[in-house]
Symmetry: D2
Subunit: 393 residues, 4 copies
C-alpha cells in the first residue's frame, strides 16, 4: 500500500544530520569558501571524526563496516540533510565517487576485495575513484567509445590508456578502472572493471582539470595508465561484464547525487526565503511582491517535484525494479530544477545574490555541472525517449 | 515505511477501467467528437450502465451506495485510466463536479441529506452542481469576494445573487450553493452552503457560457438566484462555516482533476509515440530524431513528475495532513504539464496533430482550461509562496 | 544608415487598415465566429469590396494590377493591422496562400501566365492554392520526399499523385502543383511547378482535413491528381527548377505569416490589457498585481522581439540577401511567441479567457497551427543549426 | 525608410576591433584568467595603449577628446566586437561605468566640468564611478529609497551616507554621487548628482563586495561618505534634478551593456559551434545530433532577437524618442538570452564546458549578474507592464 512516511530511523538520522551540518560543517565550509582543496585530507579527517562523534557517519555503509545500512529510501532525507553544506557529504563519507563505489563493491566484490577495498572505504580510511571517462573521442557521454585497453599478461592484465575527469583521483587510495578486454571502441560489450591501488607503477595522476565546482576532494583529474599491471584477484566482477556492472553503480550513484544536491537547493531557497521575509522594497515586504512570489513558488514546486521523483527512483532501486528510466528522469529533472532553484534564489537576493556576502554564488557554481556530470541531460533525454519509443513500437 | 505499490484492488480496477474505456467509451467519444452535449443524458445513462456492467462504476463512492470506497491513493490510477477518454469520468460517475460533491456530502451532510442527495448522486440517478463562482467582481479567483446573499426568513433562508461558470448546472438534479450569511464582499468569513433542488422556484439556469472544452455534461452555466428559498434542513454544514467546508471539497477536487487529466495527457503521449514509432522522416524513424526525442522525453518527465506529486497530495489527504500546499503544487504543476504534454504530442504529429483526423486538437481544448479552473496557476503560486514566506518569517 | 522609420505610405496604409478592420471586419468576424466557411465566397466578395472602398485592398500586389506595390518592409505594419481580425487578410486579399502565390507568380511567371493567373488573383477575381504537401511518407516537413509524378506527354505533362493540407483548394480558381519530373523521393532535385485550373479533368478536391483553425477560406484539402494534363505553357518556371523556385515563395510566405499573426497576438494582448486595467482582484487592479505584470511584460517582450526579427527578415528579403536564416528565425520565434502571447492573454482573463464571451479561445485555435504550418519549429531549428555548424566547420 | 545597413565607419571599426581583440586582448584575458584585478592599472594602461595603436580606442567619446564620436546605432557592432573578450571594453575605454559616465557628462556637464572630468575620462587618463546604490533599505532596485543626504553648507554641500556595489570605485579618479537634497526616502524627487575627486576627505572606499564576475577593474565597492564636501561648481546638472538626469545615463548605459554582453555570448556560441563541428559522439558529429542542434538553434535565435531588440533601442535613443520601454525590453531580454546562450554552450561542451580548459565557465560567471545589474529583470518587467497597463487604462 502506498505510504510516504519515512522510517523513524531515517527521520531521526536526517534530523541529527541536519543539526550536525548546521552546527559543525557550515562554519568550516564558510572558512574554506567551500573549496575542499584548501582543507585537504586534514579537513576530511576532522569532519569525519566529528560526524562519527555525532553518530551520523556512513549512513549508507553496511553495519558490519560501521555504517547505518540504510536502503535508498531511507538515505534520501539523510543525504539531503548532508547536502545542506557542500562539505556535508564529505563529513558523512557519502561524497561522490566514494559512496557509489561502496555500493558497487558491496554488490560485486569478492570477499577478499571487500576486506581489502570496501571496508577501509566504508570506514573513511581511504578515498577512491572511478575511472571510466576518457578524453574525446573516448568514453564519455557514450560509454561504448571506451578506448583504454586491458591485455592478458601472466597473472593478470596490463592496462594502457588515458582517463579524464576522474573525480577524487588525487589522493585516492585506490581506483576502479574500466578498460576494454574485448571488442573495439563503439562496441557495447567487452569492458571489464579493475581495482588498483593508486600507487601502483604505471598509474599517474597527471593534472587536475580545474572546474567551476570545488567541493570534491581530490578534484577531477587526468590519469595516465602506462602498462599498469592488475593481478587477476583485482578484477572486479566478471571479465567482459564491465558495462553491465557499471549499471549496478550508475543508477544508485545518480540517485544519491539527486539527494545531496537537493540539500544544496533547499539551502539556497531557505536563504532566499529568509531575505524575502525581511527585506523591504517599494514599500512592501519582498516576499509579498507578486514577481518575488512567482520565483518562490516555482522553486517550491521544483523542489517538491524533484523530491517526489527521487522517491520513485529510490523505491524502484530498493525493490529491484528496472530503474533505468526512473533514475534518469529523477536525475535529469532534479539537476535542472536544482539549478533553477539556486538561480532564482540569487535573483531574489539581487546584488547580494551574486556577491560572496552570501553563499549563493558558490552554490550555483557547485550545482551547474550536475546537469553534465553522470550523463548530460541531453543523453538522459535521448535514452528516456528511446525506451518510450521502443515500448510503443 | 515508504512504499509506492498500489493495492491490488486499485491496480485491478485501474486495469479493468482502462480496458472498459478503450473498448466501450472511446468509440462513443469519437462518435460525439468529445462533445457531451451532443449525447446528453441518454449518453450518460448508457455509459454508466455499461460501466456498472463492467464493474468499474463509482470507484470513489461509499460501498453502502454502490461504490468501491477507494481512498485517494487508490483512486489515482483508476481515475487516470478513466481519463483516457474525455467521456471516461462521466461513465464512471467521477466527473467534476459530481465527484467532488460526493466527497463533500460524505464529510458534511446530515443523515437526511445523505439519503436525499448523496445516495442518488453516488448511484448516478442525478447530477449536481457546485455554485460558488460569480460574475466579476464577485467570488472567483478570490472566494472572499462572495456577493450572493442568504437572508434569514421563517423556516429557512432566502438567496439572491448570480452565479457563473457553474459546471453541470443545466440538467443537474440539485445544486450546492455558497452564499453570504454574514459579513460583506472581501471578508473571509460569513459564508454558508445550501442544498437546493434545481427546480426550486427562484433558481434559473439562464445560459451556457460556451467554453473551449466540451466534455462536461451540463456545461458551464450562468445561474440566477432570485429569492430562492432554502429550508433549514438543507443548510449543508454549519451556518457561516462555508469557506471552511469548501476547503473539505477543494483539496480533493483539485487532486482528482489531476488524476483525470493525467489520463488525457497519457493518451496524447501514446498517440504521439505510436506515430513516432512508425513515421519515416528525413530517412529516419521520427522517434529516432533528436528533436523528436527531446519532445518525447520532456513529456515522459512531465508525466512522471505530475504523477509523483499527485501521490504525495493523495497520501497527505488520506492521512489527514494539511494538504493545502501539496494539492496546490500537484494541481499547478500537473495542469501546466498536462497542457505541455498534449501540445508536444500535437507538435510531434505535425499537420495531422492540428487536424481532426487525430483527437489531439480536441484534447488540447479540453486541457487548456485546467490551468484556470479550480484556481488559476497564478493564484496557486501566490498561495504556495505566501505559506513558504510565512514559514520563514 | 540604420533607420527604423516606416515610410509614410506604409504608416498611412497601416492606420487606414487598422481602422477598416476594426470598423468593418471585426463585426463580421464576430458574426461568423471567425469561421470563414460560414461566410464562404459571399463573405469574401463583400469584405474585399469594402476594402477596395476603404482604399486598403491588395497592399502587396503590383500597381499595374490594382495593388499598392509595397515591399516587404512596408507590408509589415499593414499586414499586422490586417491580422487584427482573422478575416482581415481575406478582406485585403493578402491571406495565405494567395498572397504567397502572387509573390511567386510575380517573380517567375511568363507574360502569358501573368495575364491569365496573376492579374485575376491580384484583383481578387479568383483564389488559388499551392499544392506541395503530400500524405506521409510524401513531401511535408521534408520536401525532398515529393512523390507526385509528372510524366512527359505530347504537348505537356501528365500528373499523378495525392496532395494534402492544400490550403484554400476548395473553391480555388487554380492551383500551383509541385510534381517530380526527375529523380525519386528523397532526391533534392527534379521537381517542377505546374499551373492548373481547378476544374481541369483529373484534379479532384476529395475532402477537407478539418483543423483547429477556421479562418482560411477553402479549408485545408486533400486533392487527388489522376492523370491531370498540364500543357507546356502552364509549366511555372523551368522544368526541374521546382525546389529552387519554391524558395522564392517560401521565405516571403513565412515572413508575411509572421506579419499577420503578429496582428492576432497584438489584439489578444490588447484585450488582456483592457481587462487588466479595469478588473479588480484581491483589492487591487489586476494589472497592478505582480503575477499579472509578469504575464503582461513577457508578452510585450515577445511582441517586440518578434517584430524586431521580422524587420530583419523583411530587409534581407527586400535587399536580395540570403534570407533563409533570418526568415526561419523570425518564423520560428514569432510562431512560438504569438502562441505564448495569446495563451497568456487567456490566463489573464481567467474563466472568461477560455469562454466564447471573449474571442481569445478562437484566436488560440487560429495561432496554434502556426508552429507547424510552413515548417514545424523543429525543422526550422534543424536548418538554422545546420547552417551555423556548417559555417563553423 | 527602414534600413539595417550599418554605416561603413561602424562596420570598419567593428572589424578592426574584432581583429584587435582576438590578436591582442584575448591572450591577456587568458593569462589573467579574466580577472582584471590581477592586472590592475598596468594592464589597463597596456591594453588602452594597444587599442590606440590599433585605432580602435574610445569609439563612443567625442572626437574633440580623441574618440570616434559614434552614435548608439554605430556603437552596437563595435561594442559587441569589443565584448568578445571580457577585457575588450577595458581596452577600448568603453567599460562600465566609465562609458555611461562619458555619456552623462557629455549631456549634462558644464564647460568647466567637461574639461576637468570628461576629457581625462575620454582619454583614459582616469577611471570613474557612479555612486547611486546603497545598502538595504537604501537606493537599489527602487532608486527612490535614496538615503544619502546632501546638506547645504557655505560654498557647497556636505554629503553623508553609504554606497555599495559601486563599480570601479577602487582606483577611480572621481565619482558621480547621487544624494538627496530634498524630500525623504521613498520620495521620487529631491535627488542631486555631485562630482567628487576620489581622494577628497570624507570619501572612503571601505571594501570590495566580492562578486562572481571579475572583469571590472576597481571591483564593486562599499563607499563611505562622512561629511564629504562638494563645492557648488561640482554639482552635476541642476539641484534636485538627479533622478531625471539619471535617466539620461540609464537608458544608454543599459543599452551598451547589451552590446558588450552580446559579444560575450557570441564568443561562447562560437566556441560551442567549433566543438560541434569537430567532436564525434555516438558515431555522428556532435553538431548533427538533433538535441545538439536544438541547443545551437535556440542560441542563434536568442542572439538574433537580442541584436534586433538592441537596434530598436539604439535607434530610439539616437532619434530622441522615449526609449524607456525599448531599452528595458532590450536589456531584460538580452540579459536572459545571453545567459542562456553561454549556459547552452557549456552544455554542448559537456565536461570541458564546466572546466577551465575552456573559457566558458568564466564567461558564465561574467554574464550571470547582468540579469541583476542595471535593474533586475523583475523590476524591468514590472515597469514594462506598468506602462502597458497605463496606456490601456
Amino acid at each position: 500500500m502506498i505510504d510516504l512516511q519515512p522510517t523513524p530511523a531515517s527521520a531521526d538520522l536526517a534530523r541529527a544530520t541536519l543539526a550536525f551540518v548546521r552546527d559543525e560543517v557550515l562554519p568550516l565550509e564558510e572558512e574554506h569558501d567551500g573549496d575542499a582543496a584548501r582543507g585537504g585530507e586534514a579537513l576530511r579527517a576532522h569532519l569525519q571524526e566529528r560526524a562519527r562523534a555525532a553518530g551520523v557517519f556512513a549512513p549508507h555503509a553496511p553495519r558490519a563496516y560501521g555504517g547505518h545500512g540504510l536502503d535508498m529510501r531511507d538515505r534520501a532525507p539523510v543525504f539531503e540533510a548532508a547536502g545542506h553544506s557542500v562539505f556535508g557529504p564529505l563529513a558523512l563519507n557519502i561524497a561522490a565517487p566514494d559512496e557509489g563505489n561502496v555500493h558497487l563493491l558491496d554488490h560485486v566484490a569478492t570477499p577478499g576485495q571487500r576486506e581489502r577495498f570496501l571496508e577501509p572505504l566504508c570506514r573513511g580510511r581511504v578515498r577512491s575513484a572511478f575511472a571510466m571517462t576518457e578524453p574525446a573521442p573516448g568514453a564519455g557521454a557514450d560509454p561504448s567509445a571506451l578506448a583504454t585497453t586491458a591485455a592478458r599478461v601472466p597473472g593478470g592484465w596490463r592496462l594502457d590508456g588515458r582517463k579524464t575527469f576522474i573525480t577524487g583521483a588525487d589522493g585516492a587510495g585506490f581506483l576502479i578502472i574500466m578498460a576494454r578486454t574485448g571488442g573495439s571502441p563503439g562496441d557495447r560489450g567487452g569492458a571489464t572493471m579493475f581495482l588498483s591501488p593508486a600507487d601502483a607503477p604505471g598509474l599517474t595522476v597527471e593534472r587536475h582539470v580545474r572546474t567551476m565546482d570545488a567541493s570534491m576532494l581530490g578534484g577531477h583529474c587526468e590519469v595516465a595508465l602506462d602498462g599498469l599491471f592488475v593481478p587477476d584477484e583485482n578484477v572486479l566482477g566478471e571479465v567482459d561484464a564491465g558495462f553491465r556492472n557499471a549499471q549496478v553503480r550508475l543508477g544508485p550513484a545518480r540517485t544519491t547525487h539527486v539527494m545531496r544536491w537537493l540539500g544544496t537547493a533547499r539551502r539556497a531557497q531557505d536563504i532566499a526565503l529568509a531575505r524575502a521575509a525581511e527585506r523591504e522594497l517599494f514599500g512592501s515586504r519582498l516576499g509579498d511582491l507578486g514577481l518575488a512570489r512567482q520565483l518562490i513558488a516555482d522553486s517550491e514546486i521544483d523542489l517538491a517535484a524533484a523530491r517526489a521523483l527521487l522517491l520513485r527512483a529510490c523505491w524502484e532501486l530498493d525493490t529491484g525494479a528496472d530503474a533505468r528510466t526512473s533514475t534518469s528522469i529523477a536525475k535529469t529533472f532534479a539537476s535542472e530544477a536544482v539549478h533553477r532553484v539556486v538561480d532564482r534564489a540569487i535573483q531574489l537576493c539581487g546584488g547580494l545574490g551574486v556577491s560572496e556576502d552570501l553563499p549563493l554564488a558558490r552554490l550555483l557554481r557547485e550545482v551547474r555541472p550536475f546537469r553534465i556530470y553522470d550523463g548530460p541531460s541531453e543523453v538522459h533525454r535521448w535514452s528516456i525517449a528511446a525506451r518510450a519509443v521502443r515500448a510503443a513500437g
